[in-house]
């Protein structure tokens, strides 16, 4: 049995829209809406979706960089942070949150208070275990800090884990030699430590951002579109660097991107999001070979393949992504779906396990697998 690293249950993040003279809340942007994610230790989970679908928000909520509106987050729940939490977690695991009885719901409420993120000292411990790499390496590095200061900051605050499990805050020569070793590992030079961020190219800056993130040897690393600002040849360099580092330090990755080709090269499992909801979740090969949800199918067929001799049918979706402030009722994808029928407009589909390890939220998932489902007039 694989060890659960992060488990999020019923996670929601709504951003209020303020308007009017008095700044009242006019409505909400439903960025992440009732999402359950479980990430196991040592794996790479890919998170894909179009811009505005809430993938970055989900990544931030998982790191508690944004406070969730509702829902629960557990970090290493089986490892028992406290007995109370692990008991509650066990209880939760056997039941779906919606099926819980009244007394149990009370315990869940307690869990919310007791869980990792509501507790400041716990939060500090948590911060030593997780890190994030942002999309734009230009804006994520302070232009007035030398690279050595950029990389040293997390080490000075959080320390570096030693072999016996304790953390040590490095100083002076020890710190410098540690950083030199670090930066060499990133494929950069030792004297790069004494330069400013603007002296580097995009690829090098992203290497520095990665060096800063892994300098405290985190267990869980969120990569928020780490290569989308880079060229393909540099992207390949960064991706292979990330793979090497994962093997060496046994990190768990959450890889957020809109580039499906990168997902396929990097991840073990893929989560597809659309308008704040998870629509499909499966092992990478399974998802790419037999995509079930119509949105995944369209997304896969829309990627241009660098092979001019391969002619294939491209499923071009009509229209744009609807506004997450005012998502369509029923299935959120029905406005663009080629299979949409009346039930899709009224009822929201639940995530169902169609095959082993392949979870889909679609009313017609079974028909689509067997190829019985015909296109509706919506197309």
């Amino acid at each position: 049995m694989k060890e659960v690293l992060i488990d999020a249950i019923g996670l929601r993040k709504y951003f209020p829209i303020k308007g009017g003279v008095s700044g009242r809340t006019m409505g909400y942007v439903y960025a992440v809406d009732d999402v359950n994610v479980r990430i196991y230790k040592g794996e790479t989970v890919g998170l894909v979706g179009e811009s505005g679908c809430g993938k970055t928000t989900l990544g931030r909520v998982l790191l508690d960089l944004a406070e969730p509106t509702a829902g629960m987050l557990f970090y290493k729940p089986e490892d028992s942070i406290s007995d109370k939490v692990s008991e509650i977690y066990k209880n939760l695991k056997t039941n779906k949150p919606s099926e819980l009885k009244k007394e149990e719901k009370k315990i869940v409420g307690e869990a919310k208070r007791a869980d990792v993120f509501r507790n400041k000292s716990r939060n500090r411990e948590f911060r030593k275990k997780v890190q994030i790499v942002f999309q734009d390496p230009v804006s994520s590095l302070d232009p007035r800090m030398l690279i050595k200061d950029v990389i040293a900051e997390p080490i000075i605050i959080n320390g570096v884990p030693l072999e016996d499990g304790k953390r040590k805050k490095l100083k002076g020569d020890e710190l410098l030699s540690y950083m030199k070793e670090m930066i060499g590992e990133m494929g950069l030079n030792e004297d790069h430590l004494f330069r400013f961020p603007h002296e580097f190219s995009g690829g090098q800056r992203q290497r520095i951002a990665i060096a800063r993130a892994i300098s405290i040897r985190p267990e869980f690393l969120v990569l928020d579109e780490p290569t989308s600002a880079l060229d393909v040849s540099v992207q390949a360099q960064i991706l292979s660097l990330l793979k090497q580092l994962q093997q060496k330090y046994g990190m768990t990755y959450l890889f957020i991107t809109h580039n499906l080709a990168v997902i396929r090269a990097m991840s073990d499992r893929v989560i597809v999001m659309y308008l704040g909801k998870i629509v499909e979740m499966s092992k990478t090969d399974e998802l790419f070979n037999t995509p079930i949800h119509p949105y995944t199918q369209a997304l896969l067929s829309a990627i241009p393949i660098p092979d001019p001799e391969r002619k294939r049918e491209i499923l071009v979706l009509s229209g744009d992504v609807p506004s997450p402030a005012n998502p369509p009722p029923g299935c959120r994808f029905h406005t663009r779906c080629i299979f949409a029928e009346d039930i899709c407009r009224k009822e929201e589909p639940e995530l169902e396990e169609i095959k082993e390890g392949h979870i889909v939220a679609c009313h017609f998932a079974k028909e689509i697998i067997t190829g019985q489902k015909k296109r509706s007039n919506n197309a």
Partner: protein
């Protein structure tokens, strides 16, 4: 394929940027040809000069700091860079200084205003930044139409004013028949592109209104039409006349009577249901253009401001502006980079469809080899200001020759081939202030030998239509 008509010939184009740190040699002898009705892909990494090439062709390089220092860009008989050297002189003292000749620059600017938007138009990467936030979509499309297509608009109005009874009868009965002249052509176009009766009705209403307005002040508008036709004839002469001196004279004439549009006034008129038939016809054309690029509810979108539309919709609007005057050459500078994959698929399909319908030649600039493979006929691969390889799409992907092209193709992750090992090109793009001697790729090339470090490789033809600039290959040398 080689017998096809060449619409644009670029030869030894050289663009440099003069900045404090030195001279950035952004383009070094870029040569390629664009044939009629094809899509030519320009591919390469950031900073390799793809966009600079596009901007140089349409003369949009900001000066200072940039300058086109040499080369030829020929559209038919006309050299678009004809007197580029007269614009400014380089004075070499302690540091390089530039002396401008403002008279020549002004004349060239007027000259290029007639070319840009009519014969060569562009689609930019960021649709949000390409459109003016204070004017409506309608204003911005109408501007290009009024600047370059006055004759056509007036001709249609004139023709409509002669056929008002028929148009009114059709509006009552709801069907459309055939007519002669400009209006007949227009009606055939409406029939084939309009979406539903509602849209046909809008077309008819605007045609009738414009026609009536035209006939009320017939003399004034006929005069306008006459002038505009004369102007068009001059322009045609400029494009076909092989003689440089007579070209010069025409340009001087064009510069004298160059039109300017006061966008503020025009926008105000457009908002207050205008009485000018020219503007009414421009509005109808805008409506038709938005329809042809697949915007839902085009009549509503006409009155929208850019911030009210999504990225995909905005890119459709910029495409409709670029195609408003049926340009000979369309330069699309990363048209889909800012968009999502599903919207990218929509836009690329649209570009191909419009190209089939209008027959424009397209230069598609992108860094995405997938987009190249699915849309282009021919590809030119750029590296550090040089074109290193040119070939037909299939040939390039099947049989890449230049080490850089090979590296580039190996470094893309593939959706359809997960087990492919990602190979990387070591090193970084060189600094173009001090580019490497010889072949600019030699510090990163695994096959580099002594000659690469000293001698710049010539472009050679390895097979028909496939040219490479690399010392590893031999073949017929393409004359520079």
């Amino acid at each position: 394929m080689s017998s096809m008509e060449e619409v644009l010939v670029v030869k030894n184009l050289k663009t440099q940027f003069f900045i404090y740190e030195g001279v950035v040699k952004a383009l070094e002898d870029v040569s390629f040809t664009l044939r009629k009705g094809e899509v030519l892909g320009l591919v390469g990494e950031t900073g390799c000069g793809k966009s600079v090439t596009a901007y140089s062709i349409s003369r949009l390089i900001p000066d200072p700091p940039g300058r086109i220092v040499g080369g030829e860009v020929k559209m038919g008989n006309l050299d678009l860079l004809r007197n580029i050297n007269e614009e400014a002189k380089l004075v070499q003292k302690k540091r390089i200084k530039i002396k401008h000749n403002y008279k020549v620059i002004r004349n060239n600017e007027f000259f290029f205003n007639t070319i840009r938007g009519k014969y060569i138009s562009m689609i930019f990467q960021e649709p949000m930044a390409a459109l003016n936030p204070v004017y409506t979509v309608e204003d911005q499309i109408a501007e290009t139409l009024l600047l370059h297509n006055r004759t056509r608009l007036l001709k249609i109005m004139k023709s409509a004013s002669e056929h008002i009874p028929e148009l009114e009868r059709w509006r009552e009965s709801g069907d459309i028949g055939e007519l002669q002249g400009e209006i007949g052509e227009e009606i055939r176009k409406i029939k084939s592109t309009a979406r539903g009766n509602e849209s046909v009705r809008i077309h008819q209403d605007l045609l009738i209104e414009g026609g009536t307005r035209f006939s009320r002040k017939k003399e004034k508008y006929e005069e306008m039409l006459k002038k505009s036709i004369e102007h068009d004839q001059l322009e045609d002469k400029l494009l076909t006349d092989p003689d440089r001196n007579s070209q010069q004279q025409i340009i001087k004439k064009l510069a004298k009577e160059s039109k300017k549009i006061n966008l503020i006034k025009m926008s105000k008129k457009m908002k207050r249901n205008t009485k000018d038939p020219l503007l009414i016809e421009a509005r109808r054309e805008c409506f038709g253009l938005l329809e042809s690029v697949g915007i839902p509810n085009p009549h509503g979108v006409l009155k929208n401001y850019p911030h009210e539309l999504s990225g995909g919709m905005l890119q459709r609007v910029t495409i409709s502006i670029a195609l408003a005057n049926n340009p000979k050459i369309l330069i699309a500078d990363e048209p889909t980079t800012a968009l999502d994959v599903t919207v990218q698929a929509q836009i690329l399909r649209l570009l191909r469809e419009l190209q089939d319908a209008i027959g424009t030649s397209i230069i598609l600039i992108t860094h995405d080899l997938g987009v190249i493979a699915e849309t282009c006929n021919r590809v030119a691969v750029m590296y550090a200001g040089n074109i290193v390889e040119t070939a037909e799409v299939k040939e390039l992907f099947r049989n890449p020759k230049h080490p850089y092209t090979i590296g580039l193709l190996q470094s893309i992750p593939r959706v359809d081939d997960p087990n492919k090992a990602l190979k990387t090109i070591p090193g970084n793009v060189p600094n173009l202030i001090h580019p490497p001697e010889g072949c600019r790729f030699n510090p990163r090339c695994q096959f580099a030998f002594d000659r690469c470090k000293t001698e710049k490789p010539m472009t050679v033809e390895v097979s028909e239509g496939h040219t490479v600039a690399c010392h590893l290959f031999s073949g017929k040398v393409i004359p520079e």
